[in-house]
């Protein structure tokens, strides 16, 4: 069986988990948008489970449909049964550190499979996820019903944010096919010369920070800026692509640390702890963000070339 066929099995599993989320979203009577939310998970479930057998145009249409549902505010997390605190507390006392064991196995096993077999990183994650789940069920003595509800609860609570990274990666495909990178590179190279390694690195990292600050989302900035600056100014000049990606993304996080646009991280704590200074968290983060930016520019320059 080829790696792609094995991977397909894991995509089918993902589709099934999403269909669980769909069933429970349809059944969630307290959610005013239960039909839309159920449809959202159903569409994703279909794409993952049987998308391979559908024409790409149909998949494209389904994605547009998701976009419309989301635009009409018809996808909501809804009412999710909270974890029973008493049971959790009792179980935590009994199991203690063992509760972390499945996560440790997941992380280590997926790296081992990816490094020491020819199955690749993605199949590694798939196998390790299944093994970790079985371990978690054994350790906690969870039955199938509990596991079903734990799965649908987790998937539903991720909501539309869960599909955003994949959509952004898809946007990258369209940018490449349309030649967006070439146009931005040409525009920017009218101002900055291509070929100067240090200048390219500075330009890319600083652009990641600025665009993340404007958009409040480093993932979105990554898709745009890596196509427009990272690839033409660094990777195409011989820079190591893995270094550019890894450090470029964390350079973007320096932007997240400095922007009120990233409300989840910088405004949520202000509200949670009833702080007086609305920008208090950001003020504590700016010195570290700027220091880390400089360090990452230096790191990228020396590691990439």
């Amino acid at each position: 069986m080829s790696v792609n066929n094995i991977l397909e099995i894991f995509y089918i599993l993902m589709g099934i988990i999403m269909i669980f989320a769909s069933i429970e979203s349809f059944r969630d009577k307290e959610n005013s948008a239960r039909i839309g939310t159920g449809l959202f998970w159903l569409i994703l479930g279909i794409i993952f489970a049987v998308g391979k057998y559908l024409p790409n145009v149909v998949i494209g249409l389904l994605i547009v449909l998701i976009g419309i549902l989301s635009l009409m505010k018809q996808i909501k997390v809804g009412k999710i049964k909270e974890v029973n605190k008493e049971i959790a507390e009792r179980s935590a006392k009994k199991l203690g550190g063992w509760l972390f064991f499945p996560s440790v196995v997941l992380a280590i096993l997926s790296i081992l499979i990816s490094e020491f077999t020819n199955l690749g990183g993605q199949v590694g994650i798939g196998i390790a996820s299944v093994v970790a789940l079985i371990l978690a069920m054994i350790i906690s003595k969870a039955d199938a019903k509990t596991t079903y509800h734990d799965s649908e609860r987790m998937v539903r609570s991720v909501g539309t944010a869960g599909v955003l990274p994949q959509l952004l990666a898809t946007l990258g495909v369209i940018f490449t096919a349309s030649g967006v990178g070439d146009v931005t590179a040409k525009t920017i190279s009218g101002i900055f010369p291509v070929g100067n390694h240090l200048l390219g690195v500075v330009l890319y990292c600083v652009a990641m920070v600025i665009f993340t600050m404007i958009m409040g989302n480093a993932f979105a900035a990554f898709a745009v800026i890596t196509a427009g600056i990272g690839v033409p100014f660094i990777v195409a000049q011989g820079g190591n692509a893995a270094v550019v990606a890894a450090i470029g993304m964390t350079a973007g996080y320096c932007g997240t640390l400095m922007t009120p646009m990233a409300a989840n991280f910088n405004s949520l704590p202000v509200a949670l702890m009833e702080m007086k200074d609305n920008l208090g968290v950001i003020k504590q983060q700016v010195p570290i963000a700027l220091t880390m930016l400089v360090i990452q520019i230096i790191l990228m320059y020396f590691l990439a070339f």
Binding site: S129, F222, A242
Partner: protein, 218 residues
Amino acid sequence: MEYLKLIGIIIIILGFAFKLDTIAVVVAAAIATGLASGMSIDSVLNILGKGFMDNRMVSLFFLTLPMIGVVESHGMKQAAVNGISKIKNLSAGKIFNIYLAIREVTDAFGIALSGQVQFIRPLINPMAQAAASVKHDLTDKQVDLIKARAAATDNFGNFFAQNLFIASSGVLLMASTMKSLGHPVSTTSIVLYSIPVAIITFIIVGYYNMRFDKQFNK
């Protein structure tokens, strides 16, 4: 007019900046870019569908959710809280640094703690305030500073260590985007090159937090 192709970038930037519906903004940007570069509706939908299928790996983290759900309903967060609350007789800065270490290590194993809600507000902030007020009562301004530093420490640890986990959505997004852009890289190499930043963050933030204590000892 080849500059018209940049419309997708403009849509993304403005859409996110004005907090419009993110999913709709990304789909709109994709379609607009395709159309602006001269593709037919058919071929735009085609490439949208193919691009989405080719990037299914980015969503692989969904596979890890059932396991996380099971350990969570069996008290994983409570066990973490019980562990952290055993820290005693330390300064505020040291409490922050121990939390930073825990946050980075758990991040590396993909153990997602909702740090601000679960740990900073109910646990780390009151512990740090208690530690800082041993010598003098705290002023309102100092209380605010402690809250802010506690929240900031969670963000530092969370952001700069999350890419150490191979199945994190960030790592998967990077690998998939680089593949789309014609420069494929392995997920393990991204994890490898994320290690220096995680370590340097720990050292620099560690020093920053140790200096934080000085203002309470005067």
